[in-house]
Amino acid sequence: MGLKEAFKNWLDYRGRHIHGGIAYLFHRLTGLIILLYLYVHFGALSQLLHGGESYKNFLATVESPPFVALDILLFFVIFYHGANGIRLVFNEFGIGTKKNKLFFWIMMVLGLIGWLLLTYVVATRFIGGG
């Protein structure tokens, strides 16, 4: 099986269950996004090395609404990966494997609550003018 076909099959969500193969696919995709973000983040942090004026511009950028919106999307990705991940840590040690659907949705609700809380804090801080 060539790499191209393998990749196409890897992404094929047809017939998969949300708490099964779809959760697995999203876990991989969110993981890749976060890994990519890690390198973006390191790059941005290297801005700090230059200090002073360039950092002031950087601060202005990260406070702008489109950037905050992107941040909130990033939080969503992180909370999905984390919530699903906690379930997987239990599962891979053999705990909770018989109640997969329930466990998955409980973690999704918890993750959603966490994400909404953080979004609320960030948005109101922003609306309030920081």
Binding site: L3, A6, W10, R28, G31, V62, V89, F93, L118, V121
Partner: protein
């Protein structure tokens, strides 16, 4: 099909175990990091706040552990995805993994000490 490769060639199950351990570490690290950076306005991302935090040895240790965990977890995850797609050259893939992981971790830690 030849199953039963030795540990030195495959990295499993130690790699598997550390993937799960770093996952749990990161629930903690990221929890702290997200709250610190976003729940206090911009007061914690001002340059003075960052510099003074990095003077504290406990915070330094926190960030070093964080960098090591997330670099290992993310890159090992990527290695897993590549293996799931049927790539057979396990030894070569593992070597690439270690090289990229060490460079990433080294860069992250260098940033911590040079801001």
């Amino acid at each position: 099909m030849a199953y039963n490769q030795s540990l030195k060639e495959t990295m499993e199950p130690i790699a598997w175990l550390f993937q799960l351990i770093t996952a749990l570490f990161m629930v903690f690290f990221l929890g702290v990091h997200l709250v610190l950076m976003h729940a206090y306005g911009i007061s914690n991302i001002l340059i003075q706040a960052i510099l003074s935090r990095l003077q504290d040895p406990w915070w330094k240790a926190f960030y070093i552990a964080f960098v090591v965990s997330i670099s290992y977890h993310g890159l090992n995850g990527l290695r897993g995805i590549i293996m799931d797609l049927g790539v057979k050259k396990v030894k070569a893939l593992n070597a690439v993994f270690w090289i990229v992981a060490i460079i990433t971790i080294a860069y992250g830690i260098w940033l911590l000490f040079n801001i």
